[in-house]
Subunit: 222 residues, 2 copies
Amino acid sequence: MIEVTTGSAAERVEASLRRSIIALDVLPGTRLSEQEIAARHGVSRQPVREAFIGLSRTRLVEVRPQRGTVVAKISVARLMQARFVREAIETAVARRACEAFDPTSRRRIDDLLDLQAERAAAGDHAGFQRADSLFHAALAEGAGCALAWEAVQDVKAHLDRACQLTLPDAAAMLPLVDQHRAIVAGLDARDPEAAAAAMRHHLSEIVRALPKVEAQYPHLFE
Amino acid sequence: MIEVTTGSAAERVEASLRRSIIALDVLPGTRLSEQEIAARHGVSRQPVREAFIGLSRTRLVEVRPQRGTVVAKISVARLMQARFVREAIETAVARRACEAFDPTSRRRIDDLLDLQAERAAAGDHAGFQRADSLFHAALAEGAGCALAWEAVQDVKAHLDRACQLTLPDAAAMLPLVDQHRAIVAGLDARDPEAAAAAMRHHLSEIVRALPKVEAQYPHLFE
DNA sequence: GGCGCCCGACTTGTATGGTAGTGTATGCAC
DNA sequence: GTGCATACACTACCATACAAGTCGGGCGCC
């Protein structure tokens, strides 16, 4: 369980649960009990209920009235569609980033690339994914499309969960940093097609890795 | 107030409020009282509260803790970003629709085009927008991207609200039907670029109309 | 007369009890 | 032993009560 100290109790519980689900600390198919989670977080059932509603909106959990709430299983079909949506948005962001880009965000991206390479070398999955998210967020921010990143986050949760299975070691993480650098290279060259192509290639990584992990962990899929 | 009879009380209230907000029955900046809405719907505050949380997730309302909840004003910056996201997703859907398309959805689209033309001729705004939504939904559905349509809907609410101001008469609606037909023509010709270009042109309509309505109704904007 | 403090009427946030519905287990009839 | 009915435990959902914070008005003081 991860402690979050800001916001309302409902927001804290939701953030905590979201992280646990994405990190696969609670596996797909697990039954979630309002009572138990409320007790564990030291709050009443009501905030937990609101957290469930929030999570069900992005389909991370499935609330079945009068029956119970379970962590959603990983759906390959949903995963592919989520990837499609993310690719559509982020390639468009990459193109727009080539038209005009905020210099402050540009400098921040260099820092984030370094941070990510360091986390990858250290084998720190969680830190790597955090830096990855910050990179994509900074890209959207710099291109003036902050809302686009919000939209991506809604579908990204499912992809991240799958990525937990596909990033077993540092060897799998380092190439992703290079892919990020390729995107930035396209951006610096003001070459929309190159940036978009690099982004598309980057976001296709999951497609290549998916069949293997699906065969390896069939009980996590539906 | 619109009556919805399916789902939980919270869902009914949320759907009712969402429609009222998008239809501009309640204007941007209006204060929403949990108590009053609860009384009007004959429910307690709790379902209303959950409805507010749902609406705040797509930024249709702004919940300020211990202070009150107001209907969000129309933000031009947010509107432009929402349009950007929608264009990114739906042009990608249009391209994919040219690769393979479900025949059942294809037939349904013809019906929806006729329906929409009829509603436009009758000057029925609400019916026109309903048919418009169903058209785009059927397009995504037929292309196998139902999730993409869900993602679009999140940003679409803001665009629809602005469209309430830009569709004053039937003359403004009829060209939109033609734009739909152009998209379908590209689809039938299996020409991804034509379909995407038609979609892009269609979704750019709002950009052309925005400056005028912003000048006309400045109090609705922030 | 103007400024500042305090109190009260609001707001949203949280806790708790009760209700209706579902799935399961148990016991009975066959 | 098998099939069915009934009772029970558990769930989400909703209503109500309470807590905590915010804003505004009125009063006192300077």
